[in-house]
Symmetry: D2
Subunit: 257 residues, 4 copies
């Protein structure tokens, strides 16, 4: 997809996202969006596309670190529950509780039993949230191994992206089919009427982002809320300038001639 077309389309969606956030605040709505998918699928970029247009005090990213030793022994959902939204909040989960039946299962960090237990529990857990009025959206971002290989290579070669390449990623190259199988099991067990999965093709990441955001917006009810009127009056005097006494600004970054 061409950059210009993407930018134009994204600008239009951004407007709707901003309107949606105003609505969520006015109505006390709570929104949870889960981003799952293979490494390199484009979860981080999709999250940034949404988060970047919204008030960071209203829209939070939940990207949980590895669980501590204590957390590992707790109810599996406990540490995620702590990040659920209050009224008006939008929480974007960069990976989620599905780790248990995804990466943890494929990498052997959780047992077959634990994964099975999780797959039975997840729909029930999610139904509780949805019944409580939380709007829950689950997106699965997909990409072919060809695209994945390209992106891994890019991470390897581009020093800006090198931090994205983890040992788990390297392992994922040989586990592409296992991840496919894990995903299919997740879908079979947790694609429910109250919390359905939506699969989005991220072989073209820009287009994938537009597809995802368009879909998300379409699944919300009419979110139109008029912005509060603001009375704007002339300043009534010449604008003031900064007045430094104690400290002065440092020298500006040099601009090329």
């Amino acid at each position: 997809m061409k950059r210009k077309d993407y930018d134009d389309a994204l600008d239009e969606l951004a407007l709707e996202l901003v309107g949606m956030a105003r609505w969520a605040k006015a109505k006390g709505e709570r929104i949870v969006v889960i981003f799952e998918g293979r490494d390199t699928a484009g979860k981080g970029g999709a999250i940034k596309a949404i988060h970047g247009t919204l008030n960071p005090r209203q829209c939070r990213i939940a990207a949980l670190p590895k669980p501590s030793e204590d957390e590992k022994t707790q109810w599996y959902f406990q540490r995620y529950v702590a990040h659920l939204p209050s009224a008006g909040e939008i929480v974007l989960f960069d990976r989620s509780w599905y780790n248990r039946a995804g990466v943890e299962k494929v990498m052997g960090w959780s047992s077959e039993d634990e994964a099975q237990h999780f797959l039975r529990a997840a729909p029930i857990f999610e139904k509780m949230l949805v019944d409580d009025g939380i709007r829950l959206f689950k997106y699965w971002l997909t990409a072919s191994q060809e695209a994945q290989e390209e992106r891994f290579k890019e991470r390897l070669d581009d020093p800006l992206k090198r931090w994205k390449l983890s040992p788990t990623d390297i392992a994922a190259r040989d586990l592409y089919a296992d991840y496919t199988a894990a995903r299919e099991t997740i879908f079979a067990e947790t694609h429910t009427a109250w919390a359905p999965w939506t699969v989005v093709d991220f072989n073209d990441q820009k287009r994938g982002r537009l597809t995802l955001v368009r879909h998300l917006l379409d699944r919300l009810p009419d979110t139109h809320v008029e912005p509060e009127a603001i009375e704007w009056t002339p300043l009534g005097h010449d604008p003031l300038t900064e007045d430094f006494k104690v400290l002065r600004p440092i020298e500006n970054f040099p601009v090329k001639d």
Copy 2:
């Protein structure tokens, strides 16, 4: 500043930021960067410029909501302390404890006494963190009222930015000089050898970001750490394709012909 020049310069800085983050992780460094300044100065954009290049599991934004009734009665620093970094983490504070002597003081939400008390406490609090090995950077972003007025107007007129315009912003128009005075007091009381303020001119926001990041990087020691070697082997088979049985991707966002 021209977009192209900015992008080129930012790319170079991004490389160094990524290297710095690798170093922080390898050495267990803890880094706190405080972003303060007038509304519209460009705190959010500067934070995004840094955060966007780094691993969100390593670099966190701390943008605290209003304190709860209980929190208001606690030790003023308590709710900020909860966001301080563990080993390897970089925390970007979008506003900070300086609220007390800044917006709270100017808007009359904290008393003169509370502001005074805070100003005596802040340098001591910061010295404790610095003595503990936390690297603390405090940036103050400045802009003239002319720039501020333009940006407020833009927030008013641009539906994408309307959410940034709060009643506190409107009040700030008449309080420009009070904010200047509050800032000067803050500098006079809290610009210390161990936690100095750095003032950055954000009348040109792009240039301001470059100035700030360049300065931040220059204040760190040699952060060179070689990335871990990764053994990259050929895949050994044709790349696999996604194989959907339970659910298929939804239709892609339409592309114009």
Copy 3:
């Protein structure tokens, strides 16, 4: 019940409690005990009887304060989930999520709809915890209004107990029947195979405590775990005395002749 008989019986139970806690730690068991019942029923005393014999770093009391404004808008169970046990922990809930269909309902702080919603959700929530391996016990302590009146009067007259008498208590005097009705509804909706209620007569509080603890112990499997052997050797020298240089103990509390 006579004090002497009570003390003897409690000592025996304490031994078993201590053994149970050793087992919980050794096996990584997680135990949750909910204490519900009318004001004055004796929840606090029963909790202290258990907590007082166990290691306070293993056995925690969860007596949650009023929810903050933000918490009120969250998933109802969220703030309780934060107190669920890690491996080896025993958590005693002094009141619990049942507030929603109990005191909140009777006092009109939650709506009929919210109470109904809660009553449908609670058994599902509890099943998730139980399926996850948490051992969940729910005790309802009962007392007649005659006993309640006596105890309220005692709280009124005994300055040591005056703090226990709240406006909600006073209101409870006229609402005895409403509390009965609320309890019956709770039992009808949330007495489940996986998380049954146990009603304990606390008209005699000492006897009630013994009944409750005996029942709790009987519902656990064989909890025998041998304490770790400790090699105890003679000290090998005369015992040392405290040696004060900087500060000395203050004068002891005077003892009557």
Copy 4:
């Protein structure tokens, strides 16, 4: 000290404690009491004596578990700060930040450097809290090795107390003098005008508790606040009885004839 004399004296102190708590709530006071001292000195019992008379929703015990791997890398005071009181709260620390220069130092879990660093930081940290209006009390409970040996032996022999006997305790037998030295260093460095230590002789634990509570109460200002008047009216009808339809109380614990 005789049980009867102790009980009488404690009852009188309990009355004052209750009055003090009422005052703390009415005035929004925040109170922190630190209990330090050798193993077996009697910290737990002293804490229970206070906590047992007060409202557990107002008076909290902070008995922190071992730090997690992440917490170990944070600012040392961070995890303690999370437990500081809000307005009206009384927090009893069962051990505290002094672990760093006490047990951690003696057992070699923290380095000489870390202990030194802590000893410089603690008075500054405490001054911040005190300057903020928190009332901070630091008690050190002492006992001779003779008493300690007796109590260790009791822990070994009494199955009810066996859980109190840890490997660290056993190690403490050979380290009595090291603990003395560590304590003297702590006093030398952290006995300040704003947060002085009070040493209490706990060779007789009952008397020690009385001494400590008496001292604590004497260091507070006039805490007299009249309890809120409560209008007590007759019930107006015969007291109601419990009315069970869904579930009935289980059989009472048998009483000997």
